[in-house]
């Protein structure tokens, strides 16, 4: 550990820390644009200048490693003046876009002006240098070159993290700008959504989120992404039961500050095509029913069938809490030998990476949790394949599925359909409509969504992570 003093306060920081991070430890928030915890040190924006005793000039604290006995002054008048002037320079050509800029409310320029600026501008508006404003960079990103403060975070991200080198600097001097070659759309980078998060101003904005909502109206919940077994930590921004975006939450051990674009998009699945209420089959179609009716029906049919004719299949998309109750139900209440949760073979790929960054080949969040809970057949009972065979053979009278992956994630869907058709009573927990639900299910339990319940998931590396409730259920669904 290295001991230094910042503004009279003593700090002990690990060797290799920069002064900016050391200042955070004593509650001093040093302004910065180019510095990012998970990118290389740049020192180009000059906002983080501090005074260090013995140095002739002010020093950028983001590039300065701490040393024993260092005496740092953040609040010295010349340092304050330097920060103010640097902000003024950065704002010289900045367009008056606040009313239409998505970044408003989470914009560093705004925040730093109130905290470190406060000066009266002398820049005539007519002399501002103009650049292209709405550059379509593909499916996800819109670039506004005028708003860019040239911090190079996005350039370094594409170079160091995603490896796509998609964004670069072009030209020089006052016309320097960020962009792609010939302003071509960005393709082939599954992590490009992250540049919107790290852009400190409204230069890079998300096409998906653009103009949808002002950020100060949004409430946040801390959750975990459920579109693969990595379990990147996310922040869910929502308002009135509608989710507007997923934003990665920093976790040193799981996902640093990043998440992939598939995960980012997955918020839409939470509201699309939801099963609104429990459904019960009447003749050829499913109709809505009350929970009492649906539960009574399932209970009576399950009891009547007897333990050997009931099969229960867990789901790697359910939380640990729900899966635990499923296990209790299957083993202690129904006492069926037909119980497994390895629905689609994804459990064999849980630890395997799908790219060289974050995403894994297992598209479900909780296979590792199911393994830890022991959701496998006991005493020589059949696995899911065996259960399907038993269905084909007519041995299963009641099949209770805790999720719809058996219909959507297996390669042998024809076989699954045939097997389920042979079962006289199929109960499915479904979050949203999937193909096959209408023909095959006799009862559908309307499941609460990932954001509508609290729970834990175990990720591929065995880490138990908690997902917070974002908002209460607004349909007739229940947490099962």
């Amino acid at each position: 550990m290295v001991n230094l003093t910042i503004d009279g306060k003593t700090v002990a920081a690990p060797k290799g820390t920069n002064v900016l991070e050391a200042a955070k430890l004593v509650g001093i928030r040093v302004p910065n644009f180019c510095y990012h915890q998970d990118l290389s040190w740049e020192g180009s924006c000059r906002m983080c200048l501090v005074a260090i005793e013995g140095r002739p000039k002010l020093v950028p604290s983001c590039c300065e490693e701490v040393k024993d006995g260092m005496i740092v002054q953040f609040e010295r008048p010349d340092a304050r003046e330097a920060r103010k002037s640097q902000l003024e320079f950065l704002l010289v050509n900045h367009p008056l876009d606040c009313p239409i800029c998505d970044q408003a409310g989470e914009c560093k320029l705004q925040d730093y002006y109130m905290e470190h600026g406060g000066y009266d501008s002398k820049m005539p508006r007519d002399l501002k240098v103009h650049k292209r404003k709405v550059v379509d960079l593909g499916e996800r990103i819109v670039l506004d070159k005028e708003r860019c403060v040239l911090c190079s975070r996005c350039v370094r991200f594409c170079r160091e993290v995603s490896g796509s080198h998609a964004l670069q600097f072009f030209t020089r001097g006052v016309t320097t700008e960020i962009g792609t070659e010939n302003n071509q759309p960005i393709t082939g980078d599954d992590y490009i959504g992250n540049v919107v998060d790290i852009c400190p101003v409204g230069a890079l904005t998300s096409k998906d989120f653009r103009f949808k909502q002002r950020v100060w109206f949004l409430k946040s919940a801390e959750s975990v992404c459920n579109s693969c077994s990595t379990g990147c930590n996310i922040r869910v921004d929502h308002k009135d039961g509608v989710t507007y975006r997923y934003v990665p939450r920093r976790n040193e051990d799981v996902n640093k500050s990043w998440m992939c674009d598939y995960g980012r998009d997955s918020y839409r699945r939470e509201t699309e095509d939801r099963v609104p209420a429990p459904m019960v089959r009447e003749g050829a179609a499913l109709r809505e029913a009350t929970w009492e009716e649906a539960l009574d029906l399932v209970a009576s049919r399950t009891q009547a069938a007897g333990p050997d004719a009931v099969a229960i299949v867990g789901s790697p998309r359910q939380t640990n809490e729900t899966s635990w109750i499923t296990r209790r139900y299957a083993r202690d209440v129904v006492r069926t030998p037909h119980f497994d949760a390895r629905v689609d073979g994804s459990h064999t790929k849980t630890a395997l990476l799908a790219d060289n960054l974050l995403r894994r080949q297992d598209p479900h969040p909780n296979n590792a949790g199911l393994a830890a809970l022991g959701m496998i057949p006991q005493g020589g009972g059949p696995d899911v394949g065996g259960i399907l065979d038993a269905c084909m053979a007519g041995k299963v009278k009641v099949l209770h599925l805790l999720g719809t992956e058996i219909l959507t994630h297996r390669h042998d869907t024809a076989r699954v359909h045939d097997a389920l058709k042979k079962v006289p009573f199929v109960v499915l927990h479904a979050h949203h409509n999937v193909p096959g639900l209408d023909e095959l299910a006799h009862v559908v339990f309307a499941d609460a969504g990932h954001l509508e319940q609290q729970g834990t998931y175990v990720n591929a590396l065995g880490r138990v992570q908690r997902a917070q409730l974002a908002y209460l259920i607004r349909t007739g669904a229940l947490v099962m």
């Binding site: 367009p95 408003a104 109130m114």
Partner: protein
């Protein structure tokens, strides 16, 4: 821990520098408390000149007694009492009860903070020592669920009888509602059948009648209810019930920025709305150490005095109407209309003005303000004279007001009376004189004080105050309007000029952040007060550093005035009640908040 501020700017500032530990030792309150109750004290701070002592709840009664009777302290008035929920500040314990004391003789103040147990917040009631504690503790119970041991009548006061929960607690959602299924008697425990005009037999065999005076009543200006037990025309007993205009002002302010609070303050004492604006502005200015430019002070003081006159015009005018003297009402509402026109020329609104801002006023006064104001001020004395001729020596008026509703000086102080009603009972306390702000220390004016404490003297004090306010206005007008801005040139609190907002990014961002996020004040707590038309009106503000106030409590003079109502009415006749109520000038907006 205290803050030592830099050099104290001019007389326009109403706060003082915080004292350091050495200076604190010399303060009489600190010395006395440290010597009498050393083990009761948990902490002493001085922030922005507000002395605050945190003491153990078990020792409250003894400490309070010392505060009251110690010869160097003599805190004869419990000015305010309110609750605090520190849940979101992460403090333990979660609750505090805040007391503000004032000594009318020594002219010093102290705040006591008493931390209360999370599970069962309970502390001794101060009703044995100060009568003003009665209703204030009921409100703290109503809003926070504090139990005040030995309180004579601890029940809800602002919310209704079927309300569940304690609304000012931080975990109470602001949109939860409770419906009231039926009316209740204001006498606790009285069966509902006695709502209307029920005749009951007293123990002496004589008939008595329960009658509701209000809440719908032409003479209770605002929705006020007094359920009276009548013995013929005499009020044998009564219970005053308030809360009909409770609009959870304090809870709403917790979800709005400091500037957004201004329209809410208009609706406190809505008869003289601008005074509430200034009281609130001064509170935030105290917290953020903002210096108001002299032009703004000049504007504020003149308009505050016009508002004071307006308030008294309504008070006396309606009081006389209630007693049957209708002409005076018209005589007073005519100059009031002229004052409205002056205010409208300044800000566009008449009643709910939202003209004050932190650091000054919302916009500058028009070019012809001095002429207009002088003409308005010159038009008023004539009407005061008319009413004086018609009413003051009128036999009927004298018989209805002299000796009616007498409140002694000691009683007034115990009830927390300030303002004209306090001065009519002989309490020579006017904030403008005792703790000047807004330039009052440079102005020549008298503070009328009378000793009879009856309805007549309350009327006389207000009449004279209007004449004195006119003196102040003329002095200020004669000095001429100071040059300079109408609001402080401080980007932390004042919106930049619209022209700049549209032409440079810094002003645009500044405007944006001030509107959407609000100010970024320091963390701290202050109590600031002015002499409003009804007396000491204060705001106790707790800031957590964000753009919205964490907690805001309004010390409403009408609340403390009206608390004495039941005691005052005992033995008076119903007609006397009408005469008394008028002079108390209970404004429901201020009373119920």
């Amino acid at each position: 821990m205290s803050t030592v501020d830099a050099t104290l700017p001019g007389s326009s500032i109403f706060w003082g520098p915080g004292k350091d530990a050495n200076e604190l030792e010399a303060v009489p309150t600190v010395r006395a408390l440290k010597s009498e109750h050393p083990h009761a004290i948990l902490g002493i701070t001085d922030f922005r000149g507000d002395l605050s002592v945190t003491i153990r709840p078990d020792d409250l009664l003894l400490v309070a007694q010392t505060l009251k009777i110690h010869p160097e302290l003599q805190y004869d008035m419990l000015v305010d009492l309110c609750g605090m929920d520190d849940l979101l500040l992460g403090r333990t314990p979660r609750f505090r009860c805040i007391y503000h004391f004032y000594s009318t003789t020594q002219k010093h103040r102290v705040r006591l903070e008493v931390p209360l147990d999370d599970a069962k917040p309970s502390v001794d009631s101060l009703t044995p020592l100060w009568k003003s504690a009665n209703w204030a503790e009921r409100e703290a119970y109503d809003m926070f669920g504090f139990d005040f041991v030995n309180h004579p009548d601890l029940r809800r006061i602002l919310t209704h009888e079927e309300f569940v929960g304690f609304p000012l607690r931080k975990d109470y959602p602001a949109d939860r509602r409770h419906m009231l299924s039926r009316t209740y008697s204001a006498f606790p425990g009285l069966p509902a059948e006695h709502e209307g005009r029920q005749v009951v037999l007293g123990q002496d065999g004589l008939e008595r009648v329960y009658v509701n005076i209000g809440p719908s009543h032409p003479a209770t200006h605002g929705t006020l209810r007094v359920q009276a037990l009548l013995d013929g025309e005499r009020i044998a007993d009564s219970r005053t019930e308030i809360g009909y205009l409770h609009r959870c002002f304090e809870k709403m302010c917790e979800t709005h920025t400091y500037t957004q609070v201004f329209p809410f303050t208009d609706r406190l004492n809505y008869i003289s709305a601008f005074n509430n604006n200034v009281a609130w502005a001064m509170t935030v200015e105290k917290l953020m150490q903002v210096e108001v430019p002299s032009r703004a002070i000049w504007i504020r003081t003149i308009l505050m005095e016009f508002n004071r006159i307006m308030d008294h015009l309504v008070c006396i005018g309606t009081n006389l109407v209630d007693m049957g003297a209708l002409t005076n009402f018209w005589y007073f509402f005519s100059p009031r209309e002229k004052i409205y026109e002056l205010i409208e020329a300044c800000c566009g609104a008449r009643l709910t003005v939202s003209y004050g801002r932190v650091g000054g006023v919302a916009q500058d006064v028009p070019e012809n303000f001095i002429e207009h104001a002088r003409a308005t001020a010159n038009a008023i004395p004539e009407f005061i004279e008319y009413v004086h001729q018609l009413a003051t020596k009128n036999v009927i008026f004298q018989q209805r007001t002299r000796g009616v509703g007498v409140v002694t000086r000691e009683n007034a102080i115990s009830w927390g009376w300030t303002g004209p009603v306090g001065r009519a009972s002989g309490l020579n306390y006017d904030v403008r004189r005792a703790h000047p702000y807004g330039g009052y220390e440079t102005l020549d004016f008298d503070v009328p004080v009378r000793t009879e404490g009856d309805t007549f003297s309350r009327y006389m004090v207000r009449m004279e105050e209007m004449r004195q306010s006119l003196r102040i206005i003329h002095q200020m007008l004669d000095r001429g309007i100071p040059e300079g801005p109408h609001i402080v040139d401080d980007y932390r609190v004042a919106l930049p000029e619209k022209n700049s907002v549209y032409t440079n990014i810094e002003a645009l961002m500044n405007h944006f952040k001030l509107i959407m996020h609000g100010f970024s004040p320091p963390v701290g707590e202050v109590y600031s007060y002015i002499e409003s038309a009804n007396g000491e009106q204060g705001f106790y503000l707790v800031s957590d550093g964000t753009g919205k106030p964490y907690r805001l409590h309004n010390r409403a003079p009408s609340f403390y005035t009206f608390a004495a109502n039941d005691e005052m009415l005992r033995g008076q006749m119903v007609a006397d009640f009408v005469a008394i109520l008028g002079t108390l000038n209970i404004i429901a907006g201020e009373l119920d908040r």
